[in-house]
Amino acid sequence: MTNFTRRGLMKTGAAAGVLAATGARAAGHGPKKGGTLRLGLAGANTSDSWDGRTHSDSFMIMAAHGCVFDCLTEIGADGQLKGELAESWEASADAVTWTFKLRQGVKFHSGKDFGADDVIASLQMHTSEDSKSAAKPIIEAITEMKKVSDHEVTFTLKAGNADFPFLLSDYHILMFPAGEIEAAIASGNGTGLYKVESFDPGVRFVGSRFADHYKGDEAGHFDSVEFIAINDSSARMNALMTGQVDAVNRVDFKTEALMKANPNVEIFEVTGNQHFTFPMLTGLSPFDDMKVRQALKHAVNRQEMVDKILLGHGAVANDHPIGPANQYYAGDLAQNDFDPDKAKALLKEAGLDSLSVDLSAANAAFPGAVDAAQLYQASAKNAGIDINVVQEPDDGYWSNVWLKKPWCACYWSGRATEDWMFSSAYEAGVPWNDTGWENARFQELLLTARAELDSSKRKEMYTEMQMLMSSEGGTVVPMYANYVDAHSTKLANSGTIGNVFQMDSSRLAERWWFA
């Protein structure tokens, strides 16, 4: 991957143009225009709507963030940040004040011009009273939004945050037309590449290419797109195999071999930040003892889990939540490996001869979580640790088990920035902190790194944080799970596939074309 300095990128944002131009193209010929892209997608619900604040599953993320709407910034397929509706941005030295210059001549599908008012109204949606937006914490950190001109906005933050432009690429923070947000949510009126032709929640979405789009010939190569909700995984795989859709998400590993044998189908997978965890409530005995936590970290056979639970579609993780799709991922840290003798020694240091703990799991936590817990049980036996696997009901798992039981299974889809991930789940006092782990140095680094604009200093700090979590933290992260999707050989792409989310970071309709 190209190594741009993040400092230069963030302070001026002017590099955005350069980055857009470096996107690799299939040698010889450019993307071909035309055709109807048909996707068979899991993750659709009858409760779906165009309200970005409520999006959490793949169908709507791909339809809204990937087709109909735009954000201010965008993470390219190569992992670099670039402007989408924002052209460039600048930060004050303390990263508290941010000035965004907006792209000119952008139109909503209704014909309305896009400008600074729309940005302010769209962001305010998330902080309105009793808003249930998942992006609320991001927007709440803005104390003031000021319109400088029609195409320039200044944000003042509560505290410096060097990742601010990165956060604005989040799929919840879509740009709606000011003053007509309700109508825009009802009909799906955005600035995106495809405009809504028909939308039946939980069933189907049809969009046609928006002719006036500012991305022009650079993106959105299909004439129209049709997304079909296929939550049943066998039906989804069948639809691709029989040629009724051009690509599907979430490949079913059980039928993977059959798909590989089909010459018209190709599987594509990327390792992103999605990871599975076993968080322990470190306020409770025996997990309050660091040595016990370390013993448990050395009592799990990670490779076996990757091989048996993910059937090889993943990578071994190292007990911290930062993944290969993050900027400052420290891949060279000492790996917590499977070492029963070391685990036994650690237990002895903790003053214990043996250990008996409950591990709560249900497949709602992640597919195969119960099997993973049983593998953990088997491998821990070698270290004299007796794990009692408690199978919990899938229903109500997140409200009754997670954050409540001392040790359980959990998953995280990962976050685009280190700070966002840490402050979602590991900052002291946040509601999703599923370990309650307290470490003064970690908390201090979290705050310092947030306001630091110097890329090399941030790298140092984030590496130290990952190291702290890996050795002392309260969660066992055995593996990263790949995003595994499949497409028909009729489709072509640039060769670089985004790893922020499934289906080329949910932008398949924007970046791919018919060969």
Binding site: N45, T46, S47, D51, T54, D130, G202, A235, W398, S399
Partner: protein, 308 residues
């Protein structure tokens, strides 16, 4: 009936607020959604509110829609009835196509097996239909997909029909689920037809007909069948009701946007108004079709039509 439905639905663990928020369920957000939806009211109050609405033909507004609205402020809302109507029409279409294939097919098979009873043909048909009714529906569905969509691409494996589709496209896409359901319901109707006819074959008036020298086919169709109609109609009605209420699995496998799929999706997010409305429709379908069957079997039987 309504109490049973309401209680059963409310016994499901978790509620709309916790399901829709998933991992992101903070106490504050859950409470806010519950308040918007009226889930903070006691169950008895909610039951009578729902019952009163239903009796006036108002099935309410789905939680998904209400939650959507509370984010927005007043917009035009789709009611549960609006949401169910197109799905119900799709399910009726599938049931109609299936019935058109299955009923004549099952009755003719029943007559033929009665005619050629205890022959190799009879045995083969019985084995075939009984094994198809004994297999789970999804298994039959996959077998049909394998043979009719993957190996010989005759029909599409995806039945994603939508409103502005031509009738022939719609029929083509509906074929595989209809055939699956046909396999499921045929055995019951065919066996009943066969048994009812064979039962009558021992009666004196059939013997008389045979002695007159009528052909076996004529004996069965003209003399035995009219008297066997009552039990056959009952079984057909039962199976038609099944076509409306029991299609959940088949709709999910074929991605058919009918009421069954809506039901499954709604149960998943604990959207109680939709789930309750679907249950009521299912219950009503059973009751009405059974009533219809009783009426028809009375009409088909002169002894019942003209009681002494």
């Amino acid at each position: 009936m309504s109490i049973v439905i309401f209680t059963a639905v409310n016994l499901l663990p978790g509620d709309f607020a916790t399901q829709i928020l998933g991992q992101g369920a903070t106490d504050e957000a859950v409470a806010s959604i519950r308040k918007d939806l009226g889930l903070d009211q006691p169950a008895v109050a909610r039951y009578f509110g729902w019952l009163a609405g239903t009796l006036q033909g108002d099935l309410g507004i789905s939680f998904a829609q209400m939650n959507f609205q509370s984010n927005l402020g007043g917009t035009q809302l789709t009611t549960v009835a609006d949401q169910i109507a197109p799905r119900f029409a799709n399910t009726m279409f599938l049931a109609g196509v299936t019935a058109t294939i299955a009923v004549p097919f099952a009755i003719s098979l029943g007559i033929l097996t009665a005619l050629f009873r205890n022959t190799a043909f009879d045995r083969a048909m019985n084995i075939g239909t009984l094994s198809s009714i004994s297999s789970p529906e999804f298994f039959l569905a996959y077998i049909l997909i394998l043979f009719l969509a993957v190996l010989n691409p005759v029909f599409p494996s995806l039945s994603n029909i939508f409103s502005d589709m031509s009738f022939s496209d719609r029929l083509n896409k509906t074929m595989l689920p209809a055939l699956t359901l046909t396999l499921v319901v045929t055995a019951h109707m065919m066996r009943m037809t066969r048994a009812a006819i064979i039962n009558l074959m021992a009666s004196p008036y059939i013997e008389m007909a045979r002695l007159k020298g009528l052909s076996p086919m004529r004996v069965i169709v003209k003399h035995a069948l009219p008297n066997a109609l009552a039990p056959i109609i009952n079984v057909i009605a039962l199976n038609l009701a099944y076509l409306i209420t029991g299609v959940v699995v088949v709709e999910v496998v074929f991605v058919y946007p009918g009421i069954g799929q809506l039901f499954v999706d709604s149960v998943k997010i604990r959207d109680l108004p939709v789930v309750q409305a679907c249950c009521l429709i299912f219950a009503a379908a059973y009751i009405l079709l059974n009533l219809l069957a009783d009426v028809l079997s009375i009409i088909s039987n002169p002894r019942l039509r003209h009681p002494k």
